[in-house]
C-alpha cells in the first residue's frame, strides 16, 4: 500500500518529535533528515498543529514540539488528517454489475485490514518498532 507524501512526512515528523517530547525541532531540521523541502513540510506541520499534535514555539531556539498523546494517537488518526484510507465511496466503472460487486467485496477486505492495522498502531508502538529496527541494524 502507498501513502501520500504528506501522510508519510507527518508520521516521520511526529516520530521524531515524540521521541524527544521536551525538545523543539525546526522544520528545516526535520526536513534535512528525510531530504524534504521546508516549504512542503511547513504545510504538513500546520495540519498537525491544527489537530493539536504539535505546537510551534517562537524564539531563537523555536521550532515544533510534540504535544499529543503518543500512546493514544494511531497511524490512522494521523493519515486521516491528509487522506482517506480505503474510503472508496465514489461510483466506479462497472460497479452495478455482479463482477463489479464481487471486485468491490475483495477490495473491501483489503481496505478493512489496512484500516484495522493502521488503527491499532500508535505513535508509541511505532517508536518501539523503530528502536527494534535500529537495534537489529546495529547487530547486522
Amino acid at each position: 500500500m502507498k501513502l501520500q507524501i504528506s501522510s508519510r512526512l507527518a508520521i516521520f515528523a511526529l516520530l521524531q518529535l515524540a521521541a524527544e517530547p521536551d525538545r523543539q525541532l525546526s522544520v528545516a531540521g526535520i526536513g534535512e533528515k528525510y531530504g524534504i523541502s521546508s516549504h512542503h513540510l511547513a504545510k504538513v506541520m500546520h495540519v498537525l498543529a491544527r489537530a493539536g499534535l504539535v505546537r510551534s514555539v517562537r524564539g531563537a531556539h523555536g521550532g515544533h514540539q510534540f504535544c499529543g498523546n503518543a500512546r493514544r494517537t494511531t497511524l490512522l488518526d494521523v493519515i486521516e488528517l491528509y487522506e482517506n484510507i480505503g474510503a472508496d465511496v465514489f461510483p466506479s466503472v462497472g460497479d452495478r454489475t455482479s463482477e463489479g460487486r464481487a471486485l468491490r467485496e475483495v477490495l473491501g477486505e483489503i481496505d478493512d485490514i489496512a484500516r484495522a492495522t493502521l488503527g491499532s498502531i500508535t505513535i508509541a508502538t511505532m517508536l518501539k518498532l523503530v528502536e527494534r529496527r535500529r537495534a537489529s541494524g546495529r547487530r547486522t
Binding site: T74, A116, S120
Partner: protein, 161 residues
Amino acid sequence: MKASTAEAVTCALSVRRAAKTDIPQVIALDERVTGLAKSAYWHDAFERFGQRGLHERFFLVAEAAEAEPGPRMLGFIVGEVRVWEFGSEPCGWVLALSVEPRARLHGIGQALFAAISSEFKQAGVGKMRTMVARDNRLHLLFFRSEGMMAGPYIQLEKEID
C-alpha cells in the same frame, strides 16, 4: 507455575495458574465483557487448559492483593503450545485474554502477557501467536503495543452451503 512467572506482577497483583474455584469469576468477567454467559465453555476450557498437559497449556489469572477493595480476580489469559498445524513450527497460541473493565490500563494485561510469554519460553517455543477480531480495537492496540506483528497466515472462512 514457577516463581519467575508469579513475580511478573505489579506490587499489588499476582499472576498464577487458575484453580477450579476461579472459574465462576472467569465466567462472570467474560459475561461482563462480551455480554454472553458461556458457563459450559469455560468449565470445559478449564479442564483442557487448566488440568491436562500443563507443561504446554496455560490458564492463568491475575489476582489483586487481599487488601485491595473490589473483586480479586482481575483478568485471565489462556494459551497453549501448538505444533505443526498447517506446517507451522511449534508456537505458543494466546487463545483468550480479558481484564476487568474497571481495572484496565494499569498494566494487568501486560503482566498476564509477560507471564504466559515466560511460560511459553520455558516450554521451549520462541514465537507466540494470536487471532484478534478486526474490530476489537482494544485487543489490537494491546497486542501491537506488545510488539506483535501480522503473521504469515491469513484466516479464511465461509458459510457452509
